[in-house]
Amino acid sequence: MPFNPLRSLRSKTLLVNRLPEGPYFGILAEFATPTDLYHACERVRDEGFTRWDAHTPFPVHGLDGAMGVRRSPLPWIVLVAGLTGAAFAFGLQWWVHASAYPLVISGKPYFSWPAFIPITFELGVLFAAFGAVIGMLALNRLPMHHHPLFQSKVFERVTDDAFFISIESWDPRFDAAATPKLLESLGARSVELLES
């Protein structure tokens, strides 16, 4: 593939979803129950696959452990966002009442900080909540309305009652012949090769 500066920039940007290049996106295998999926995930993890995922209609308890997914760093984003909001609110109130627009109210000092606490708290919560939602979407590379997985007809049931494992083609251990066999041996109901 010829050098494309735009593509190279995009692929390094955190917020853009990176997809495998080449003719195939990867393999999609369907499993019947959360239990089947759980044990299959343990095996795929132990086989040493890295660029793969499981898909479920609801969060299955313990599946992140079975896949070896690390804990989300999201709480740190929220902490920073919340402290930013609180600091902004406190600073704004301080500046307004002690500098920009000083008024004597009930004979209190201009910098009467206890009265600033409710708004400091509220804006801290507001910024933290936006940090949580925007941070979650960014870490999940959402919104992303097009994805190779959506080509699959059976994948429509991922939001209903179906359980899947997808192994992407740029995984070093991916093999277009052997990997489907592995998934079948783990009890997959159907296995499908998806194009990019």
Partner: protein
């Protein structure tokens, strides 16, 4: 089904309680919830929507006339400068609190029964906050300078007074509304994806797909998603407690007898949760019957909600008694006069309606028969909300109508426009709720599926209905949020 619903309720040592009846599979849950949105609009829906929309139109007329003529069209006047407007505001903010309690606080406490009702309770919160925000906005008189409450740099060089509880209120309620919408939307994303994947028409596919953001339900996505949900719950919990505390400070920070009391923040929060749960019960009784959700929103859920109403109703009653005791014990003649005037003065009728509805009526929930009887629950929930509206009326109007100078005493009477604004706000609330049940999945299916026995990858074979062994099963891995969202 081996056991009847009543037997399940009667057995307190059955281990993990059965939250969903008729042992449905995952698809059956999706089907019953999504089908309610996909089916052609039923006649029954119009029977609710048309009256609600008519009341909303009434609100439009009342507010237009208010803007044209000014707040003199309402019955308030000195000494009663706050009347139905602020009563309605506090009433509606309070209604919202049960939604956040169910979605956030019960989530942190791992109360899995919340999954059946949290979506519609959160929707209720948002619509109640919309109604609440309406009243302070329209009662300011000159609505076109309403933006002065926000710290917007302006050519006058004027800033709002951040040291005023009224401004804290602006921030508290608008932050509460915003965070409630965020929390609700995050919870909706997986279910919007369900609606997208089931959509038969292009318009549905596009609209649900647009808002589902391309959700793929992958474990790496769920990992961040569950983290976000937990964080939002942890943020919403202190937020909801702060909101009604700040609302109560609108009164408590003033120096008026009847308002100037430190008990107000916890007393207001308890009252808010009390009235909010009553509204959830009212709505859930209608929804579960109308949409055939009796196996998802079960008598067990109503049993729990009735217990919460009993507790919070008794807390409110205790607060009434404490207020009265303190006014006597303080030795302050103004304080004591205000309270005697509440109970025995010209507004005694309102006071005793409040006591009857809020303190006496919930005591019926000491009896399990009442907690599991839909007609009794429905009637009690409406009585409680009437009582809670009167509580705010009593606090606001009786404290104002006889001020320090007897020559200034007055008696507030509502006008037709006061009544129109109150009825109109119910129109707004029910119109929004009707639109919600028509276009969005009213039960969080991705959460309900997690409480089905077969959702547990370690216990599918052992998760029979009411099986005590499930509660003794060893936990797997680290103590991650169990059955979370």
């Amino acid at each position: 089904m081996a056991q009847t619903e009543a037997e399940l309720l009667d057995n307190p040592v059955a281990g993990n309680p059965t939250l969903i009846l008729r042992s449905p599979d995952f698809h059956a849950i999706t089907e019953v919830v999504a089908e309610a949105v996909e089916r052609p609009t039923p006649i029954g829906w119009w029977l609710f929507f048309v009256p609600a929309f008519a009341l909303l139109a009434l609100l439009g007329v009342a507010v237009s006339w208010l803007f044209w003529e000014g707040i003199g069209i309402w019955g308030l006047n000195i000494p009663v400068g706050w009347a139905w407007d602020i009563t309605n505001f506090v009433f509606w903010v309070g209604i919202g609190h049960a939604g956040t309690l169910i979605s956030a606080i019960l989530f942190l406490f791992r109360q899995k029964w919340r999954t059946s009702i949290n979506r519609s309770a959160e929707a209720m919160t948002i619509f109640a906050v919309m109604c609440a925000l309406l009243f302070p906005s329209i009662h300011v008189g000159r609505v076109w300078v309403m933006y002065w409450v926000f710290p917007v740099p302006n050519q006058m060089g004027v800033w709002p007074n951040f040291r005023s509880p009224l401004l804290w209120d602006v921030f508290a309620v608008s932050v509460y509304g915003t965070v409630s919408v965020l929390f609700w939307y995050v919870g909706l994303i997986p279910d919007l994806a369900t609606m997208r994947d089931r959509a038969k028409t292009r318009v549905r596919k596009f609209v649900y797909g647009f808002f589902a953001l391309g959700w793929r339900g992958s474990v790496r996505q769920w990992n961040h998603y569950e983290s976000a949900y937990l964080v939002l719950a942890a943020l919403a919990t202190p937020l909801v407690l702060s909101v009604h505390s700040v609302v109560s400070m609108d009164f408590a920070v003033s120096l008026l007898p009847g308002w100037h009391t430190t008990i107000f923040p916890p007393y207001f929060v308890a009252g808010a949760i009390f009235s909010g749960f009553a509204m959830v019960v009212t709505l859930m009784v209608i929804c579960r019957t109308a949409f055939g959700l009796e196996h998802i929103i079960t008598l067990r859920h109503f049993d729990y909600m009735a217990k919460i109403m009993l507790v919070t109703g008794s807390m409110v009653g205790y607060a009434y008694a404490t207020e009265f005791f303190t006014s006597w014990y303080s030795g302050n003649p103004y304080e004591f006069f205000t309270f005697m005037n509440r109970a025995l003065g010209p507004y005694a009728w309102a006071y005793w309606i409040m006591i009857t509805c809020n303190v006496i009526s919930p005591q019926i929930f000491w009896f399990r028969k009442a907690r599991t009887s839909i007609p009794i629950l429905f009637a009690a929930s409406i009585v409680i909300n009437i009582g809670m509206w009167f509580e705010r009326f009593v606090i606001i109007v009786t404290s104002l109508h006889r001020d320090f100078l007897p020559s200034a005493w007055g008696y507030f009477r509502p006008t037709v426009w006061d009544v129109s604004c109150l009825l109109g706000s119910f129109g707004l609330f029910f119109t929004m709720f009707c639109l919600f049940v028509r276009f969005l999945p009213m039960v969080a299916t991705s959460e309900v599926k997690t409480v089905l026995p077969q959702a547990n990858p370690h216990g599918a074979d052992r998760g029979a209905v009411g099986d005590y062994r499930r509660s003794t099963m060893p936990a797997h891995g680290e103590p991650a949020p169990e059955g979370a969202s």
